[in-house]
């Protein structure tokens, strides 16, 4: 039986800096997960991912990551995405730590 679709964000790494970035609803790439577009429709998620894959001059390796809604926008549901959002835990110098 196919698994039920769960909400997703489109995420990737920025080509020039390697920073973790998220696709926004107005077609920007943001360093903040809170600004990401949370997609609840599977067909739309596939379309948005395809659009991201069409921007190799901006990003590398886009994929769909699970997320859940919150008052502060999308939140990670898995610890890997939490670390991608916040930066490494041994130094307070991840790019996300700088911009948050």
């Amino acid at each position: 039986m196919p698994r039920e679709f769960t909400p997703k964000v489109v995420t990737a790494n920025a080509l020039l800096e390697g920073d973790v970035v998220y696709q926004t609803a107005d077609d920007r790439w943001s360093r903040h997960l809170s600004e990401a577009e949370l997609i609840s429709d599977e067909a739309l998620a596939k379309l948005r991912l395809a659009q991201a894959e069409g921007q190799p001059e901006l990003v590398v390796g886009p994929y769909l990551a699970d997320a859940k809604p919150s008052d502060n926008g999308p939140q990670p549901t898995h610890f890997r995405e939490e670390f991608r959002r916040t930066g490494p835990s041994n130094y307070d110098h991840g790019k996300q730590a700088e911009v948050n």
Partner: protein
């Protein structure tokens, strides 16, 4: 110290020029990521979790002060002010930006360094005993062999698309400090009837199928070494599984075919290719050996050292733990710990790199080494310099007296940096080190090697740790499996799994229970953790880890 020839310098410059053009084409949109990825990996450039990562080779772990200062310059100019020394004697920069990488590679070339073949399915950085040229137990310096292999393997046309990556380590001593039994090929310098030759092991490796290397040949002569190694890699290049990434390493080939079959095939291939080696390699080897001639050792007195040792307990503690006997009278090998309690194992700041470079230049015959245990070595320091040297190290946070102790932990970057990792390693290492520093137990515990990997690929060598810790993702939660009894030395062994893993909150108390079990039940202070484990086995540790909890729960 090997110096680049005109050919070496021109080769690296040309590669850098090519890569600069490739980066420009990628940024301009004239190369897709699929086209660019293999090109960047050929130059050691990965894309990790938060940023690009550049892996730079430190051949056989040997550096001079100029090279170390250049690494500091790179860390400060194009990174975040630090570098990470790895278990394969590389340094990794965790935050370079893509457009800066050509500049970094040019800066490396200025000091005869590069990042070629630090990634990809090729022969990787050839590693060696970090005490090479200084160790009391050494039969011969392993670095000329490693340099010969480096020159032979760099851009070798037959070996650029191997079934998987290929790692070679060389030791010149019977005491293995280069982990040769966990490498694709391990080479041990041996002496037979007065002749220096090589014992060749094959098929060791860690990862998802850990194996200890098997003896391929007990004795290969100096003249035959290069064709014999070429024959070995060549046999695997043909036989190695390309259909399944997880069965592609030579350890699986050796396992599936059997060592006798592999030995026969290598011998057959060797006899075919041997005539093609006309002796130029032997002449080159002799030239390389002269580049590694030992420095002229001084004959000064050591009274300052003796007096300080008697009167300064902090110096004495550091000397007892971090110094190793040197082959020259009056000299010591100094191990600089990059494992200050609570720090990230293997990291050094640009300032610390400069301090170590200064010390090497003024007190260490201008030589530094990187150990596979992620520490820095000054291989030749006269004892009269040690008190001053220790004071300088102390001032810069580099005098932690913990080499070989419970806080001298190997830890891979784990999920804090690595795109492949399934859990974090660094925070676990930091917490263990901090906890046992608080308990003030680590000198009482004595030699105990903890090694931590953040995934099954085992970059943190957990299989061969006395206590090994493997971080995994269990249903979306970090979980840590423990192995006991691993050993990376000449008595190498793969550790045994204790049982179910522990959560991030449970793993430090679990390690504490293991250590308490050892302290409570060891025969005396001279019985090391590994000796104790080999005597008593897993049972008391299982009880401490699992049964005690059940007993408490039942109460």
């Amino acid at each position: 110290m090997y110096s680049y020839s005109e050919f070496d310098a021109a080769f690296v410059a040309e590669r850098n020029r090519q890569f600069r053009a490739q980066v420009e084409r990628r940024i301009a949109g004239n190369l897709t990521e699929d086209e660019f990825k293999p090109l960047r990996l050929m130059n050691g450039l990965y894309l990790q979790l938060h940023a690009y990562m550049l892996r730079v080779a430190i051949p056989y772990g040997t550096l001079n002060s100029r090279q170390m200062r250049q690494l500091a310059h790179i860390a400060e100019t194009w990174d975040k002010g630090y570098g990470h020394f790895t278990t394969r004697q590389n340094i990794q920069f965790n935050w370079p930006e893509l457009r800066d990488v050509p500049e970094i590679l040019d800066a490396l070339a200025e000091v005869e360094m590069h990042a070629i073949q630090t990634s990809g399915n090729t022969i990787r950085n050839v590693t060696a005993d970090h005490f090479a040229g200084a160790a009391e137990d050494e039969i011969a310096d392993p670095r000329p062999v490693a340099e010969l292999l480096r020159q032979w393997s760099t851009d070798h046309p037959e070996f650029q698309f191997l079934p998987r990556k290929f790692k070679i380590a060389v030791t010149g001593s019977p005491n293995d400090r280069a982990v040769i039994k966990a490498h694709d090929i391990g080479i041990q310098i041996v002496e037979r009837d007065g002749e220096i030759g090589y014992r060749v092991l094959v098929g060791g490796g860690l990862g998802r199928t850990p194996m200890i290397g098997k003896v391929l040949s007990d004795f290969v002569s100096q003249e035959d070494l290069l064709p014999y190694i070429e024959a070995t890699v060549s046999v695997w290049n043909l036989l190695g599984r390309r259909d399944n990434k997880y069965k592609s390493r030579i350890k699986i080939t050796v396992h599936e075919h059997g060592i006798d079959d592999i030995r026969a095939r290598v011998q057959e291939r060797f006899e075919i290719i041997r005539p093609a080696f006309s002796g130029i390699d032997v002449a080159l080897f002799e030239d390389i050996k002269t580049a590694f001639a030992p420095p002229v050792f001084r004959q000064d007195g050591t009274e300052v050292f003796e007096t300080t040792y008697k009167t300064d307990p902090i110096f004495r503690s550091w000397a007892d733990t971090n110094l190793v006997a040197h082959k020259a009278p009056g000299y010591s090998i100094v191990q600089i710990s990059l494992k200050a309690h609570g720090a990230t194992p293997g990291d050094a700041t640009a300032d610390q790199m400069r301090v170590m470079a200064d010390l090497a230049e003024f007190n260490g015959h201008d030589e530094l080494r990187i150990s596979h245990e992620q520490n820095v070595i000054l291989p030749h320091v006269h004892k009269s310099h040690l008190p001053t040297l220790h004071a300088i190290l102390k001032k810069h946070g580099l005098a932690t007296a913990n080499i070989g102790l419970i806080s001298d932990i190997i830890a891979c970057p784990g999920m804090d940096y690595c795109a492949l990792a399934t859990a974090r390693s660094i925070p676990i290492a930091q917490q263990i080190a901090t906890r046992f520093d608080e308990l003030k137990l680590e000198h009482d515990i004595g030699e105990l090697k903890i090694k931590i990997s953040g995934c099954i690929n085992a970059c943190g060598h957990h299989h061969v740790g006395h206590i090994g810790i493997l971080g995994l993702d269990r249903a979306g939660v970090e979980n840590y499996q423990i192995t006991l009894g691993g050993d990376h030395t000449e008595t190498a062994a793969i550790g045994d799994r204790t049982g179910p893993g522990f959560s991030a909150d449970e793993i430090i108390p679990a390690v504490e229970r293991i250590v308490e079990t050892y302290l409570d039940q060891r025969q005396d202070r001279d019985e090391t953790f590994l000796q104790f484990y080999r005597r008593v086995g897993m049972a008391p540790f299982k009880t401490a880890l699992y049964e005690q909890d059940k007993a408490y729960a039942a109460e």
